[in-house]
């Protein structure tokens, strides 16, 4: 069963990569058209750079956690998660605020401000999703769940709020109808869905090998695995 879930990981992320490549190819074809229609659109190369930077900082986050604090997801999930999201969040905000809609009406700092609101509301929604998928809500595991949802929010909601603000039509078009236009919107949607689906697979109930400490079922799987999955999801997309 564990092998199976690894298989899922591989399958899913391979699929996602392929999909992304396909989209990048399409985008290259559409490039000229897009650049004329949306002024601040960036090229596919730019999108890749953004991914690389965010991915790099995720790696930096893990390095900091591992070497400076010498904890990891299994020994102290809540501290690790807190460090990770607080390192990742500024980067995501700084980068994505550059791509905000209507830059002439909305200043850079306003974009930063609204992404902070987005962080909190996104964390709330992610926490609701996690809890409904049986994340523990006892007093001991509450910090873990909270920090996990902040991290997920950084991947899913923060870029979107930085770019779109509170524009319902944009949100609806991009997230619900899955009809993103332009590279920026792809840049938002793919990691967000990658994180969500990765998280979902990570939360897969795996009541196996419970003799081993790193696999204590219902407490950490809901957090630890989920998070690993979502991060893998994110970093691979």
């Amino acid at each position: 069963m564990r092998k199976l879930s690894i298989f899922y990981y591989v399958f899913f992320f391979r699929g996602n990569e392929r999909e992304e490549k396909g989209k990048v190819m399409k985008e290259v074809k559409k490039k000229e058209k897009l650049e004329t229609s949306i002024g601040d659109s960036r090229s596919a190369l730019g999108a890749l750079t953004v991914y690389l930077i965010t991915g790099l900082f995720l790696v930096v986050g893990f390095w900091v956690v591992g070497n400076k604090y010498s904890v990891d997801l299994i020994s102290d999930p809540s501290l690790t998660l807190r460090l990770l999201w607080s390192i990742e969040f500024p980067i995501v905000v700084i980068i994505y605020s550059l791509f905000r809609r209507n830059p002439e009406e909305c200043s850079y700092f306003r974009a930063v401000g609204r992404s902070i609101i987005g962080l909190i509301s996104g964390a709330l929604i992610n926490a609701l999703g996690a809890v409904s998928l049986s994340a523990p809500i006892g007093m001991q595991s509450l910090p873990k769940t909270i920090h996990w949802s902040f991290l997920m929010s950084v991947f899913t909601f923060v870029p979107a709020t930085a770019v779109f603000g509170a524009s319902w039509t944009d949100w609806h078009r991009v997230f619900a109808s899955l009809k993103p236009t332009g590279n920026i919107e792809y840049m938002i949607v793919i990691p967000a869905y990658g994180a969500i689906i990765g998280g979902w697979f990570g939360a897969w109930p795996m009541p196996l090998d419970w003799e081993r400490p790193w696999q204590t079922m219902s407490d950490d799987v809901a957090d630890g695995y989920w998070l690993t999955g979502s991060e893998l999801g994110h970093s691979l997309t």
Binding site: L128, G129, S132, L133, S134, H172, A176, P207, L208
Partner: protein, 957 residues
């Protein structure tokens, strides 16, 4: 019309599918769970004679009803002097032999050894001899007790009836002892009392219901001990201590309580050894003390399976006066648990039970004289040979005749010793012949005082032992081997029915979603996300059944998948969300689905390995019974309110509805009354007269309301303004909601008080989903029905059920039953266990009604020209087929899994109980679908009849 399936054909195929499945399932069950071959009757004096002699020869046993005469007769016939006249059988539930005897020649761990100083000293002095007695799986108390006293290995189905212990009717030791007039006393686990009702002169049974109690169960036994040891009126004293098993269940082998418990057991052994055995003067005869355990336990204290830790049970003889001086010789012995029966029978001079497959424990006979030892072995061999005769063709026994070995007159059999080879059955007979011949030789030589007697004796002894060992193994394997043909037929029948269902479903699916028939049915139909997910869920479930821990923790996967399904629905709704009105209902309903689902998930920490984690029910129990009372009260009121709500929402101010509502309110009040007055103790169901009468009144009222309403309502729902479908829809909606309310009230009465909150949450989920579907969820009908089925299964685990038989609520099965009735309490137990799946299946009636009403509101009477059969097919096809289809796929898949896992370590403890649950789920699906189909068909027929009546009357006037 050739491709389209008519209603009649659909019904016929479905019913045929059900029948094929039932037949296949029963064939498989009888093939897989062996029913042991048994000889009927009880061993009597004929067991002391050669099996080839005419059984109805000389003695007339009817004269020997006097116990004392019978005892003397047995003693005379057996030719073995019995020096013991009293037996103390101390059963320590769940004690692994490793704790006392160590493992692999090593002494036990220091903690264990130091906790039992007296027993260890007995072993070291040679006063005791211990055996690792291998118990046969399933290692659960009742089958093991049966094995010990009857020597027979039972089938798995014994475990299934573990919660309903019935008197042991097969030949057994206790019955034999009773027949020769022994006085017996039993203290401890009341399983003994259920197995042997009326056999004990004095008894004090304790229930093993409270697994948390590790002190009181044992104190209850020990408090009688001083009196019993002082009194001289018993021959057999049985002590069954449950505490150690309870310690194991709560804390595992290394529980901190374990050492104290072992010390307590050791003290009891010391008391008994000093008082009962040493103090008695020699002229009174001797007492034999036997300490046995029924099974062992795993590292974390569970049992039921077939691992070494679980099957390693103890058999310790104290006071055998066999000359053993060596500690290793006293501890490093191996036997089988069933060997206890023949050993005790021969030691105490009673016939060996008829179906015994055990053999004499070697080393217990050392104190006997030579001829007695051989006689004992001969008696054991004769008994096994009788059992073999029942299972072998009689042609193999040709040439044997009465006493021919003694007289040397066996026809066609040379009296030479030969090497035994060939197939197993011939080999067995050959071994027996060798032993018998050698015994004969020894006897004849003994008369002539030959010098080589000693050598002949050991040869005969070895020959007997070889025969006994081989025969015992052969007989034991006979009870567990599986007939391949039956299994094959069963599985293929199930596959066939599964295929039938899937085909039916697909053909209906094609017809339903490709309405214009001139268009060619192609497979270009694109599955939506949630439809893919329904299939994926089925696949995931099938795959996860292959892993034992996934089976144990099945509730996780159900909850995870159903929550994901809800989230997908939320996503779908959000997709079409715009800030107009009416949508808020949908979002709200989905959120209430999610919240209720999460609460239900936390209600019971189900499964097997994580039950100690906190959950809502534990939390409430710790908070005090006052809170539970409040929850019970609130959920009772809310259930009545929510259940009556759809009744009044249909807007009909008819008298019949009001009468119904009144009936239900009365029921609800009575249920509340019962909960308030009689259910004071959490677990104890009071047996007062008043409570029973109240419950019976509730049963009567509820069944009258449910059946009466379903029968009467269609006749009174006439409404001239509405179309045919709307009318039938109204009626079905009412009947459905009334079914649900009825079922919920029944469950509030039957379930443990803590579960009343869960029942309320399930009801809210049902109402939420019916609200969703009537507001247009844009999800196909079959997806909704499949979702309902899945939610029912999730609720099943939320009510505290799991895939072990231990979680079945036995206490609730006796509510309102004044006399013991297996069938009635079985039905109640089924109702309690399958509360949630049946609730969701019953809700299909309401669902169909709501659909019909909705449908007829939007498009008024489009189906006017279609026949009744067509309507029935369209409306009833999916609600019946989808649950049947899902269930048959799961059943067939699990059957295959069980076949593949037949040699798995956990086949008895995990896979087989799960299979019983799967079978019961199948039954539950049949019942639910039947009720739905009958109700809907009946309503449609009545409505059509009334309509046609009205039109004819209209035409005439």
């Amino acid at each position: 019309m050739t491709t389209a399936m008519t209603c009649t054909r659909l019904t016929l195929f479905t019913v045929a599918g059900i029948f094929i499945q039932i037949i296949g399932l029963s064939i498989f069950v009888f093939g897989f769970f062996p029913v042991k071959p048994t000889l009927s009757g009880v061993s009597g004096s004929e067991s002391y004679r050669d099996p080839f002699c005419d059984p109805s020869s000389n003695l007339n046993e009817s004269e020997l009803h006097h116990p004392e005469k019978l005892r003397l007769l047995y003693q005379e016939l057996s030719g073995i002097s019995s020096k013991y006249d009293r037996l103390i059988l101390m059963v320590i539930d769940g004690l692994p032999a490793e704790f006392v005897l160590g493992k692999d020649g090593q002494p036990p761990w220091k903690v264990w050894k130091e906790s039992m100083p007296y027993t260890q000293s007995l072993l070291a002095n040679g006063d005791a001899i211990g055996y690792h007695a291998k118990a046969a799986p399933p290692t659960v108390t009742m089958p093991r007790l049966k094995a010990m006293v009857s020597g027979a290995i039972g089938g798995f189905l014994d475990v299934a009836f573990n919660f309903n212990t019935q008197a042991l009717l097969d030949d057994n030791l206790l019955g034999q002892f009773f027949r020769i007039g022994w006085k017996m006393v039993m203290l401890g686990d009341e399983t003994w009392l259920k197995l042997f009702p009326g056999l004990f002169m004095r008894h004090d049974g304790v229930s093993s219901f409270f697994v948390k109690d590790t002190v009181q169960v044992d104190r209850n036994v020990s408090r009688h001990l001083p009196n019993e040891l002082n009194s001289d009126d018993w021959n057999l004293l049985i002590l069954h201590y449950l505490g150690l098993d309870h310690v194991g269940h709560t804390g595992g082998r290394n529980s901190p309580l374990m050492a104290g418990k072992l010390k307590e057991m050791d003290d009891i052994v010391r008391t008994m050894h000093l008082k009962a055995m040493m103090d008695r003067s020699h002229d009174q005869g001797q007492t034999l003390l036997i300490v046995v355990s029924d099974h062992g336990m795993t590292e974390n204290g569970n049992h039921g399976g077939s691992s070494y830790e679980e099957t390693d049970s103890l058999m310790l003889f104290i006071g055998l006066s066999s000359n053993i001086s060596d500690y290793t010789a006293a501890t490093n012995n191996v036997a089988f648990q069933v060997d206890l029966a023949p050993t005790l029978a021969l030691l105490f001079g009673v016939p060996i039970p008829k179906n015994n497959v055990g053999v004499l424990v070697p080393g217990t006979l050392n104190s006997l004289r030579d001829y007695e030892q051989l006689r004992a072995l001969e008696l054991n061999s004769w008994q096994l040979l009788r059992l073999m005769q029942a299972q072998m063709p009689s042609s193999l026994f040709e040439g044997f005749s009465c006493n021919c070995f003694v007289d040397g007159t066996c026809e066609g059999l040379s009296l030479d010793i030969s090497e035994c080879s060939g197939d197993k059955e011939k080999q067995l007979i050959c071994l027996f012949r060798n032993a018998a011949v050698l015994h004969g030789i020894w006897k004849s030589k003994k008369l002539t005082e030959s010098s080589s007697a000693m050598e002949d004796f050991s040869r005969a002894l070895n020959a007997y032992n070889t025969f006994l060992k081989t025969a015992s193994e052969w007989l034991a394997s006979k009870t567990t081997e599986k007939p391949v043909l039956l299994l094959g037929v069963g599985v293929s029948a199930m596959l066939l029915s599964c295929f039938v269902y899937v085909t039916l479903f697909l053909s209906l699916f094609k017809e339903f979603y490709h309405e214009p028939k001139d268009r060619v049915c192609n497979l270009s139909y694109r599955l939506k996300l949630e439809e893919v997910f329904i299939f994926a869920l089925l696949l995931i479930l099938v795959i996860s059944m292959g892993s034992s821990s996934m089976v144990e923790e099945e509730h996780y996967i159900w909850h995870f998948m159903v929550s994901t399904l809800h989230l997908l629905l939320l996503f779908k709704t959000a997709k079409s969300f715009n800030f107009s009105k009416g949508m808020n209902y949908k979002i709200g309903s989905i959120f209430s689905l999610l919240i209720c689902g999460r609460l239900l998930r936390g209600w019971h920490q189900g499964g097997v390995n994580w039950t100690y984690l906190p959950d809502i029910s534990k939390w409430l129990e710790q908070a005090g019974s006052g809170y539970i009372k409040w929850i019970q009260l609130i959920s009772n009121f809310l259930v009545i309110f929510l259940g009556l709500f759809p009744l009044f929402r249909t807007g009909s101010k008819k008298k019949s509805v009001r009468i119904l509502a009144f009936g239900f309110s009365t029921c609800g009040f009575l249920v509340l009354l019962h909960a308030g007055i009689y259910q004071d103790d959490m677990f104890e169901v009071s047996n007062e007269y008043g409570a029973t009468v109240t419950v019976k009144v509730i049963y009567l009222l509820l069944s009258t309301c449910a059946i009466g309403a379903a029968v009467v309502l269609p006749w009174f729902m006439l409404n001239k303004e509405k179309s045919f479908l709307a009318e039938a829809g109204d009626c079905l909606y009412l009947i459905g909601s009334e079914y649900i309310l009825c079922w919920c009230l029944l469950q509030l009465l039957l379930q443990q008080p803590i579960n009343s909150g869960a029942i309320l949450l399930l009801l809210i989920q049902i109402l939420a989903i019916s609200c969703l579907s009537s507001n247009g969820l844009q999800v196909n009908e079959w997806v909704e029905i499949a979702a309902l089925y899945y939610m029912g299964m999730t609720g099943h685990f939320a009510l505290g059920n799991s895939n072990t038989l231990a979680t079945i609520d036995v206490a609730g099965a006796f509510i309102g039953i004044s006399s013991h009735s297996t069938i009635l309490s079985g039905i109640l137990m089924f109702m309690i266990t399958y509360a949630s799946p049946l609730l969701f299946l019953l809700c299909l009636v309401m669902y169909i009604g709501a659909k019909l009403r909705n449908h007829s509101h939007s498009t008024i009477s489009t189906h006017r020209e279609t026949s009744l059969g067509q309507i029935l097919k369209l409306k009833l096809g999916f609600p019946c087929l989808v649950p049947l289809c899902i269930n048959s796929i799961l059943l067939t898949a699990y059957t295959v899994v069980l076949l593949l896992m037949r040699n798995h370590l956990f086949v008895w403890s995990v896979f087989s109980p799960k299979y019983l649950y799967v079978c019961a789920t199948t039954l539950c699906t049949y019942i639910g679908v039947c009720i739905v189909a009958i109700t809907v068909t009946y309503t449609f027929f009545v409505t059509t009849f009334l309509r046609s009546n009205r039109t004819t009357r209209h035409n005439i006037s």
